[in-house]
Subunit: 149 residues, 2 copies
C-alpha cells in the first residue's frame, strides 16, 4: 500500500467514463420504449428477482401500494406484465413478465452490453487476460461487500 491514491484514482476515472457512457445508452433505450423510468425499473426488477406480489414492488421502490398498483396496471394494459391471482393467498397477486415484457427487458440488457462487447473487441489477447483477472477480483470483492451488509 505504497500509493493508496492510485487505485482510488483508477477506479474513479473508470467509473466516470463508464457511468457516463452506460447511463446515456440506458436512458436512450428507456426513452425509445416509450416507458417511463419507474415502469422500466419495475420490469427490470421482475426480471432480476422473479415474479412477486405488489407489496414487494411498493417496498422495493419505496412508494405507496396505491402508486405501485397504478404503475403495474399500466404495464399490464400495455401487455408487458401478467397479473394473476396467487393460489396460496387469494388476496395477493402474482406479477410476472409477459412474453412481450421479457423480450423488452432482454433487448434493454443487450443494449447495455453492446458497448462493453465493443470495448472488449478492441483489446488484444494480453490485455484481455489482465482485464478478466482484475474484473474477477473486483466482482468478488463487491459481492463480499454486499453480503456483509
Amino acid at each position: 500500500m505504497t500509493k493508496p491514491a492510485q487505485i482510488t484514482q483508477s477506479l474513479r476515472t473508470w467509473m466516470d467514463v463508464f457511468m457516463h457512457r452506460s447511463m446515456r445508452g440506458w436512458s436512450q433505450f428507456a426513452k425509445s420504449t416509450g416507458l417511463s423510468m419507474p415502469q422500466f425499473s419495475i420490469l427490470m426488477q421482475l426480471h432480476h428477482k422473479g415474479p412477486c406480489g405488489l407489496s414487494e414492488i411498493s417496498e422495493r421502490f419505496d412508494i405507496s401500494s396505491a402508486a405501485a398498483s397504478q404503475l403495474v396496471d399500466k404495464l399490464v394494459q400495455s401487455n408487458y406484465l401478467e397479473r394473476a391471482e396467487d393460489p396460496s393467498d387469494r388476496r395477493a397477486k402474482l406479477l410476472r413478465l409477459s412474453e412481450n415484457g421479457a423480450k423488452l427487458v432482454d433487448d434493454g440488457i443487450h443494449e447495455r452490453y453492446r458497448w462493453m462487447d465493443e470495448l472488449a473487441s478492441k483489446l488484444d489477447a494480453g490485455e484481455r487476460v489482465k482485464v478478466v483477472e482484475a474484473l474477477e477480483i473486483l466482482t468478488k470483492a463487491a459481492q463480499n461487500l454486499e453480503d456483509k451488509k
Copy 2:
C-alpha cells in the same frame, strides 16, 4: 483469442454488479436532495462541461427550450444556479453553478465514489496493482472508442 466469451462474460458480470450498486446510491442521493432527476442532471452537466447557455441545455437533454427554461428557472430560484447575461450576446444567458450548487454536486460525486473507495480498501497490494493496470487499459480503450465517433 482462444476464449472470446471469457472477457465478454467478465465485463458483463462486473457491469451488472457495478450498475446495480451505483445506480442505487445515485438515485438515493438524488432523492435526498429533493431535486428531480432532470434538475439533478442539469447540475451535473454544468459541472462537467462548465457554464453554458440555455440552448445547450435544451439540445443536450433533447427537450424544448421552453422546458429547459422552466427547469433552469426552478434551479435558479432554489439557489443552485446563477443566470447571468452573456456580455458577448445580450440575447443569451450564461448559466453556471452557484456556490450552493457546486457543493451539492460535489457531495453527489463523493457519494458515488464512496462505494468504490470502500471496495478498494478490501484489496491487497497485489490485487491493487492488477486492478489499476486493467482499469487503465479499459479506460484508454473506452476513450479511444468515444473519440472515433
